[in-house]
């Protein structure tokens, strides 16, 4: 029986640091993703196997999505966007494992993800425009817009947190409530819906991260002809 997503369960202590269940689940997801990546990319060749071809399709789909959304060459952004999507997707779908609560159902994980996007936006903006150019974007289209733009930067990051947290947490809540009220198989459609919601939320979070990063980049470079 899962606990409330609004409360954190401490699994164990490492000195003064309390290791909570979302951290443990995240570690498990990290191990699965890292080990899986190692295994899948061990024997890469120019003549791909079915497994390698599927992997390349996933990566190329991420590249295509970045290229379509940001209108830039996707190479510098693939690790960040790809990691965000894969981690959120894996975290949301970890609810399939009995007894595991998705880490994204807790506010700290979503805040960590949003915090990374927040700093990534600053990093790519400064790298693209320079420090002065990046801060100049806050004065666009008018210097009067600086307070509003600063607030927008904060609020959109906060909206990332709330959107992901609200959707996943509500799904967990609904499934938990239904499961506590009715039989074993009744929550199954709700769980399927929860999985769909998790996949969509992973996609939305990634796309929003791309949009935020693209918003601070310089003039969009012309797309190279394929």
């Amino acid at each position: 029986m899962m606990g409330s997503p609004l409360t954190l369960t401490v699994a164990f202590q490492i000195g003064p640091v309390a290791i909570t269940t979302p951290v443990l689940a995240t570690w498990a997801i990290m191990v699965v993703l890292a080990v899986g990546s190692c295994l899948l990319t061990r024997h890469m060749s120019l003549h791909p196997s079915t497994r390698q071809a599927a992997l390349e399709v996933v990566v190329e789909a991420i590249e295509a999505q970045i290229r379509d959304t940001m209108r830039v060459e996707p190479a510098p952004y693939v690790p960040l966007i790809g990691t965000l999507f894969l981690f959120i997707f894996a975290a949301n779908w970890s609810s399939l494992v009995p007894g595991v609560e998705p880490p994204t159902a807790h506010l700290e994980t979503d805040a960590a993800l949003a915090l990374i996007v927040f700093f990534a936006v600053i990093w790519f903006g400064v790298r693209s425009r320079g420090l002065r150019g990046y801060f100049a974007t806050f004065a666009e289209p008018s210097i009067l817009m600086v307070p509003l733009n600063i607030v927008e930067t904060m609020t959109r990051t906060f909206s990332l947190v709330v959107r992901l947290f609200g959707n996943v947490m509500s799904g967990v809540f609904v499934v938990g409530i239904v499961l506590s009220l009715v039989g074993l198989l009744v929550p199954v459609p709700l769980m399927a819906l929860d999985l769909l919601t998790g996949a969509v939320q992973a996609y939305i979070f990634s796309v929003l991260a791309m949009v935020f990063i693209a918003g601070v980049l310089g003039e969009p470079k012309p797309e190279k002809e394929k």
């Binding site: 309390a18 990566v59 990374i116």
Partner: protein
């Protein structure tokens, strides 16, 4: 609801570590292999285009070479034909010249033989005519003929002819076909001595047929049939040569 800051930090670190792990073990190898395949494909396409270009160039060069070979073949054939034609013409001309030479030589040889035969026949005819004339004239009494011809000596030759025969003190031989009678010899001696003042001696030569021949130390005078027949034969021979030359 409680917000745990340590969990926030840990999750941030976790996601950053995951970012590094996936970048190291997932995205970089996959992107690298995709780029490598793309480069390989582009290289293959470039090589294929280069090879196609090379093949097209080689095909064009081969076509040009074939055209040049065909042109050379035609030229060599034409040269060979012209050479054969020239050689044929030269050979034919040489053969024709050789044949003309041989024909001319054969004709000349034939003409020479024919002339020689004609000359031989003419000579034989002359000899036959002379023999016939000699035999016919042999039936005429030679002494009478000799006397008649001897008597005509004084009027037959001119004084210059007489003076060239012999000078005074020299001997003039009078040759007749038959022996002269003594009276005839005396008359003859008188006439000669009177004209030339030289001594006279008589001889006989039947080959003269009839008539007389005066043989001086410087010249001879003929008034006999043999000399006449020889003169006629000579004339006939001269006429034949003139005809042959014509």
């Amino acid at each position: 609801m409680h917000f745990d800051w340590s969990t926030l930090i840990l999750q941030t670190v976790n996601v950053l570590v995951l970012l590094w792990l996936l970048r190291r073990f997932l995205f970089r190898p996959v992107v690298a292999i995709i780029a490598e395949r793309k480069n390989t494909a582009e290289k293959l396409l470039t090589d294929a285009a280069s090879k196609m270009q090379s093949a097209q160039t080689q095909a064009e060069q081969t076509a040009l070479h074939e055209k040049a070979l065909a042109s050379d073949g035609d030229r060599i054939l034409a040269d060979a034909r012209a050479s054969a034609q020239t050689e044929r013409t030269t050979t034919l001309d040489a053969a024709r010249l050789e044949a003309d030479k041989m024909r001319a030589a054969a004709q000349a040889e034939l003409e020479t033989q024919r002339n020689q035969m004609r000359l031989d026949l003419d000579s034989q005819a002359r000899q036959l005519a002379v023999a016939i004339a000699s035999r016919l004239l042999g039936r005429v009494p030679r002494s009478a003929v000799d006397a008649a011809l001897l008597e005509a000596l004084d009027t037959t030759w001119s004084p210059d002819q007489w003076n060239g025969l012999a000078a005074a003190g020299e001997t003039l031989e009078v040759v007749t076909a038959s022996p002269l009678e003594a009276a005839m010899q005396a008359a003859c001696t008188t006439m000669i001595q009177k004209r030339l003042g030289c001594s006279v001696q008589f001889a006989t030569d039947p080959s003269l047929i009839a008539g007389v021949e005066l043989r001086g130390p410087h010249a001879r005078l003929h008034n006999n049939w043999r000399a006449d027949l020889d003169s006629i034969a000579e004339e006939l021979s001269h006429d034949d040569k003139t005809i042959v030359m014509a």
